[in-house]
């Protein structure tokens, strides 16, 4: 506000003075006394300025100001001479004195201008000084020419002088941050302009021999002093209330101080630049980074930090490290470590810690060091954060993978793209008794021989087979030359650019397995053979037994036929037993034959409609059904895949049993089926005598009879045959029964869809 008021004040004074001067120059009616007073006033101002500079020179030993002071003193002396000289007598002299004044004023203005551009002098000293010298030279030459011209030709050349100062005025002040320098420059331009006007008027007055113009020139000269005075005051008031440093900078500082200030400015500028430079580095660096003060308050951080911790500058800057976010950094050990970095200048190098961020645990690596601060007492700390979670994970994965490979039971071999071994795992070493050094660089196919060796070689050696994965059985060789059987996979391994890097071979030692398999196969064959033999035996036995039995039976019957009642009573009885025994034997043998035929004489399975089967069965059992007055309910039955003949036998046996083992009531039999677990489950229920639970397991055993022969004749083969038939069809048969309440037989047969699938 003060500066603003002063500005208005000074501009006001300046305007009034200018208007007044112009009025005098254009209109001569202003009283002569006032003009004189005005002249003396300007003289006083000049005196003031020169004394001001003189004091400055004495106090601050400023060479610039001393020069200025000298010039102004000369101006004052000339001014005094000018005013004391009667104008009628010393017109020429007056004019000369005024010219000298103006020349000196130019010189001082030139020096001021150059001086105000010290920074330029510093950055481009040669150009600046040569410019200054040139300017001074031109001024001096012009002066001499003018003096000569004035003396001999009565012609004034000096109006061209101010023009020489113009280039200086337009030297741009590039590096100076001080607005005052700019201001001074334009102020002095104004000063030169006015001087130029004064000079012009003097020139005109000498040409036209007009004293009025000389007076006007005098006023302009006076104004130029006022202008410079105004400039000085203006600057002075501008800098009022600013630091002494700045004030000094403009007017009061000695050259040394000024130089120092400028050096500092220069340094500050450099610092500023390096600060910008480092800030842009900090900002653009990928790693999250923190700059902390001695209290661990965050001074600076970068974008990566905000991103990683999901924070914004408001939540971060000027806050304590342990308070930001959700207290992720509130780790006493870490904080005390950081404090010791600041206080004791120790470094934290790759300090690994985990931090919980957005529900994820991150592993970070911290590096911290103190930033050396020369002038500021508090130390700063720079903390870089390396998010190594992914790296850690990758490392962990790699470690796991390596451990897995190392501890795998399968032999694992890695080769390069030529099939030369790069790595083998301990399992392979254990298997073969080789050491790794013996194997390294060896070709894999020298260790494995294979039935299809050419293909295998091709796989390893040719690049065209890149996508092939070889699997199969092979024979490997141990160190001692003995062979072992493996099931092996050889797969190509690619690098991240899909280039073939090598091969991985995984071998399963199947020597034992193969042996076991062979054993098993052999046993299975043996079992099949012995089963077949057994069945054959049962068949042959029953068949061949039939032959002699037929003889026994036939001749016993013949005996009975021809000789019954021809011997005694005992003989009759003996013949009866023999005949009966032979008959029973025949039944047993034919049943056994039937039983053995289920396995040996079965037909291939075919689509079989169970409704057809049941109809055949009912036809076969027609007589006994009629005799027993049995009712048989049949729900619609499915089509299955079976041996039709055997299925007839199955249903016939079970339904036959249901009729046979009836009690006093007439039999009621129901046949039904339902889908269960991809199979058909059949049920045949009756209301017969039933089976006690303890016998329920026995009924499917061959020749197992529960009831006596007198009431329920039979050999006990029926259900055993049923079971065998069901087993041949990969089904199950079971019974649920309560004595006296009948029984229910269940069995399963394959469903059609199940077979198709």
């Amino acid at each position: 506000m003060i500066a603003e008021k002063n500005k208005i004040f000074i501009i006001g004074i300046f305007t009034i003075t200018l208007t007044f001067t112009l009025a005098i120059s254009l209109n001569y009616r202003i009283p002569r006394e006032i003009l004189l007073a005005y002249n003396w006033f300007t003289l006083a101002i000049t005196l003031f300025i020169s004394s001001f500079f003189l004091i400055n020179y004495i106090v601050k030993k400023n060479r610039l100001f001393s020069t200025m002071s000298l010039f102004f003193s000369c101006i004052v002396i000339l001014e005094i001479i000018f005013h004391l000289t009667p104008k009628e007598k010393f017109g020429l002299f007056k004019s000369f004195a005024m010219n000298q004044q103006l020349v000196l004023a130019y010189l001082s203005a030139a020096i001021c201008l150059i001086a105000s551009q010290d920074t330029i002098i510093k950055t481009k000293p040669k150009i600046s000084y040569s410019f200054l010298m040139l300017t001074l030279g031109i001024i001096s030459c012009s002066f001499l020419i003018n003096e000569v011209g004035l003396t001999f030709f009565k012609y004034n050349w000096l109006p061209i002088l101010p023009l020489t100062l113009l280039p200086i005025a337009f030297i741009r002040i590039k590096r100076s941050k001080y607005w005052a320098d700019y201001f001074l420059q334009y102020w002095f331009l104004l000063f030169i302009g006015i001087l130029f006007s004064a000079q012009l008027l003097i020139g005109l007055s000498s040409i036209l021999n007009n004293n009025q113009l000389l007076y006007s020139a005098d006023f302009f000269k006076g104004i130029s002093y006022i202008v410079i005075l105004c400039g000085i005051f203006f600057q002075f008031y501008k800098t009022l209330g600013k630091s002494e440093l700045q004030a000094n900078n403009l007017f009061l500082a000695t050259e040394e101080v000024r130089q120092e200030i400028e050096e500092r400015e220069w340094t500050e500028e450099l610092l500023n630049e390096s600060r910008l430079f480092s800030e842009s580095i900090v900002e653009s660096i990928n790693e999250p980074l923190l700059v902390l003060d001695s209290e661990l308050k965050i001074i600076k951080t970068n974008h990566s930090f905000y991103t990683l911790f999901n924070l914004n500058p408001k939540q971060t800057l000027n806050r304590f490290l342990n308070e930001i976010g959700k207290g992720e950094w509130n780790n006493q050990e870490l904080l005390s470590n950081l404090k010791s970095v600041i206080n004791d200048d120790v470094h934290i190098k790759n300090y690994e810690t985990s931090i919980k961020l957005q529900h994820k645990s991150k592993t970070i690596l911290l590096n911290a060091r103190r930033i050396a601060q020369k002038d500021i007492k508090t130390n700063l700390l720079i903390l870089t954060i390396n998010d190594i979670t992914d790296l850690k994970k990758a490392q962990e994965n790699a470690r796991l993978l390596a451990r897995g490979v190392e501890s795998a039971l399968e032999a694992i071999i890695l080769t390069d793209h030529n099939g030369s071994i790069n790595y083998v795992n301990p399992a392979y070493l254990n298997l073969t008794s080789f050491t790794f050094t013996e194997l390294k660089g060896k070709k894999l196919n020298t260790l494995i021989s294979d039935l299809n060796e050419i293909d295998f070689k091709n796989l390893l050696l040719s690049n065209q087979s890149e996508n092939k994965i070889w699997t199969g059985e092979a024979t490997g060789y141990k160190k001692n030359g003995s062979a072992y059987e493996v099931y092996m996979t050889i797969a190509p391994v690619y690098d991240e650019f899909q280039k073939l890097e090598g091969f991985v071979s995984i071998q399963n030692d199947i020597t034992e397995l193969k042996k076991a398999k062979e054993d098993l196969a052999q046993r299975a064959t043996e079992l099949a053979r012995s089963n077949a033999e057994l069945e054959q035996f049962a068949y042959v036995a029953s068949h061949d037994l039939q032959e002699p039995l037929r003889m026994v039976s036939s001749f016993c019957q013949l005996l009975k036929k021809r000789y019954y009642d021809k011997l005694d009573k005992d003989a009759n009885e003996f013949i009866d037993f023999a005949v009966d025994g032979a008959k029973r034997m025949q039944t047993l043998i034919s049943d056994l034959l039937l039983y053995s035929r289920v396995g040996t004489r079965g037909k291939p399975f075919a689509k079989t409609d169970c409704n057809d089967i049941i109809n055949k069965v009912l036809k076969n059992l027609q007589i006994s059904i009629e005799d027993s007055d049995a009712t048989i309910n049949i729900k619609d039955l499915p089509t299955t895949v079976a041996d039709e003949t055997q299925l007839v036998q199955l249903f016939q046996n079970i339904i036959g049993n249901a009729i046979k083992f009836r009690n006093s009531k007439s039999p009621e039999i129901s046949v039904a089926s339902k889908r269960k677990n991809g199979q058909w489950q059949f049920s045949i229920k009756d209301n017969g005598i039933g089976i006690a639970p303890k016998y329920q397991n026995k009924i499917f055993t061959i020749f197992q009879r529960l009831e006596n022969k007198e009431n329920y004749p039979g050999t006990g083969i029926g259900l055993a045959v049923c079971k065998k038939i069901i087993e041949r069809h990969r089904g199950k048969i079971w019974v649920k029964s309560e004595p006296g309440k009948g029984c229910a037989f269940y069995f399963t047969l394959p469903a059609l869809e199940g077979i198709n699938q």
Binding site: E547, R550, M551, S554, F555, K561, Q586
Partner: protein, 148 residues
């Protein structure tokens, strides 16, 4: 009743190694209505020798009916059958396969080799008797065979 039956007994050749069956057949034929003469050989080669009148069967006459068991020593029944049925002079003689086998394979191969009929020996005596009598009756009385 055939007219021939009055002129000479029917000649039957039985190739059978089981004496029991021979006896039973003999017993059965004894009750037969047709007078017959049963000649028995115990193996396949004898059967062929008999038919070809080779020693010691030079004096035997050509049979009118052959009862052939399949399970014969030396040359089995099927082979004998093949020999008979490929022999232009012998193939006209009806051959009845009389065996204990119920095997489908035996039945099929018998008929493929032109057996005239296939009978499984019934286990029961009465049935056996009636089977033999039925053969006797059918082939020797009912059927007309070409004369030599």
């Amino acid at each position: 009743m055939s007219v021939d039956s009055f002129e000479r007994p029917i000649e039957i050749l039985m190739a059978e190694d089981n004496p029991g069956d021979i006896r039973l057949t003999r017993e059965a034929l004894k009750d037969g209505k047709v007078s017959n003469s049963l000649n028995v050989v115990n193996n396949g080669s004898d059967a062929l020798a008999y038919l070809r009148k080779q020693p010691p069967f030079e004096n035997m006459s050509r049979p009118d009916l052959i009862l052939l068991d399949l399970n014969l020593p030396k040359i089995n029944g099927i082979e004998v059958l093949q020999e008979i049925k490929t022999d232009e002079t012998l193939k006209l003689i009806p051959v009845v396969i009389l065996t204990t086998s119920k095997s489908e394979q035996d039945i099929t191969s018998s008929y493929q080799n032109h057996a005239n009929c296939y009978i499984t020996k019934p286990v029961d005596l009465d049935q056996f008797m009636s089977a033999i009598n039925a053969i006797d009756n059918f082939w020797l009385s009912i059927v007309r065979l070409p004369t030599e």
